[in-house]
Amino acid sequence: MPDPVLSYALPVLLLAAFPFIGGLLRGIDRKITAHMQSRIGPPVLQPFYDVIKLWGKKPFITSQFQPVLAFGYLGFSLMAAAILVFRLDLLLLLFTVATADVCLVAASFNSKSPYSHIGGMRELLSVLSYEPVMIMSIISIYFATRSFLVGGIFSLAYPLLLLLPGVFVAMGFVLIVEMKKSPFDISASMHAHQEIVRGVFTEFSGYTMAMVELGHWVKMMLILSIMAYFWAPNLLIGVGLALLLFFVSLVVDNIYPRLTWQRMLKTTWTFGFTLILANLVALFLLGGV
């Protein structure tokens, strides 16, 4: 008989905390980035100020469908997070994340702005670059645990990281693409580089932008949580690992310039696929399966 607190109350609390932790991480991200550039940087709560301010701005809707899609992006991201915290199917999680991305891309194509269109195309390319790596990672998790359920990871007696170190590193690439960090930030831009204005986010403003921002935090938290599950027996170590990779992605963001989409596809596919395949071959040869 499963404990009702552990199986229902705790996941719901975790799900509610997802956007807040994500926002805090974004604030810490901006602070660390500023310090790396020998600046002081904004307060850690800055992302929350941004979202509250955006919510209070006068609505500026370019098409009737746009708010629906912005809400869809946030909603599907939250749904994917719910699938993760309730320990359901990893494949379903992947499809829900893809649906959230489709919402974002459809919203960017739902206006006549050329910047928004370029951003949407590039967002599709970044989906193309991380989605296969994510599918392969989930298939590897299946080979290690013989289950597509998140619960399967927890039924292992030892951490998943010992079986799948290559997959963990490959997920790092997914994290950087998903966070829209520097070598792979082709679809949207912040700060100085504005050759496509704000890319896929150009046509959002006011509360639609706030929803997209929240959805972005949830998706970032989603990938970080999957990484934390690589050390499922002791989740504190898992969270530490995820935060370590978060920090690595900030370092990479600060030392690498933006790549073209061709180099982005080459990088994620060659490194991602090679790491995962090598990992799987080793797993089969050592008889871990």
Binding site: R30, G41, K53, L54, G56
Partner: protein, 148 residues
């Protein structure tokens, strides 16, 4: 709505438009963004997108070529917003005063809230202008609440 106003003052996103300036003021604005003055510690980001911006930062005099662009950018910014003009040219027309191709200060085209004079205005002055602009932003926010 106090939280909303606090957030508004703490996160002004800037749209920087060069209205035919000599780039002197623009370099000073970039200096304000760079590590020495680092205006991002006040939450100021050069966002480059009128639909998400709160502050329109204009340099240079309004002229017959680009006043439509300036007007368009101003109209694309959703409320609440303030306009800050940086430099002598933007404030009054400066050395271009009475030129046939120049309309004069930016206030001939869009309503201006804060003037930062100087040729070129220094980063300290620009930051001071920002503080004044944020006070006006807060006032506008309060008015918006009372107007409802």
């Amino acid at each position: 709505m106090d939280i909303m106003n606090k957030a508004r003052v703490k996160s002004p996103w800037v749209l920087h438009f060069n209205c035919g300036s000599c780039n002197g003021c623009d370099i000073e604005i970039l200096a304000a963004l760079a590590p020495r003055f680092d205006v991002e510690r006040f939450g100021i980001i050069n966002i480059g997108n009128p639909k998400q911006a709160d502050v329109l930062l204009v340099t240079g005099p309004a002229n017959r070529r680009n006043f439509r662009v300036l007007k368009n950018l101003y109209d694309q910014m959703p409320e609440t917003k303030v306009v800050i003009v940086v430099g002598s040219c933007g404030s009054t027309g400066g050395v271009f005063y009475n030129c046939p191709n120049v309309l004069g200060g930016v206030d001939k085209v869009v309503p201006v809230d804060v003037y930062v004079p100087g040729c070129a205005a220094r980063p300290e002055q620009i930051i001071d202008g920002f503080i004044l602009g944020l006070q006006k932003l807060a006032e506008k926010g309060k008015k918006k609440v009372e107007g409802r």
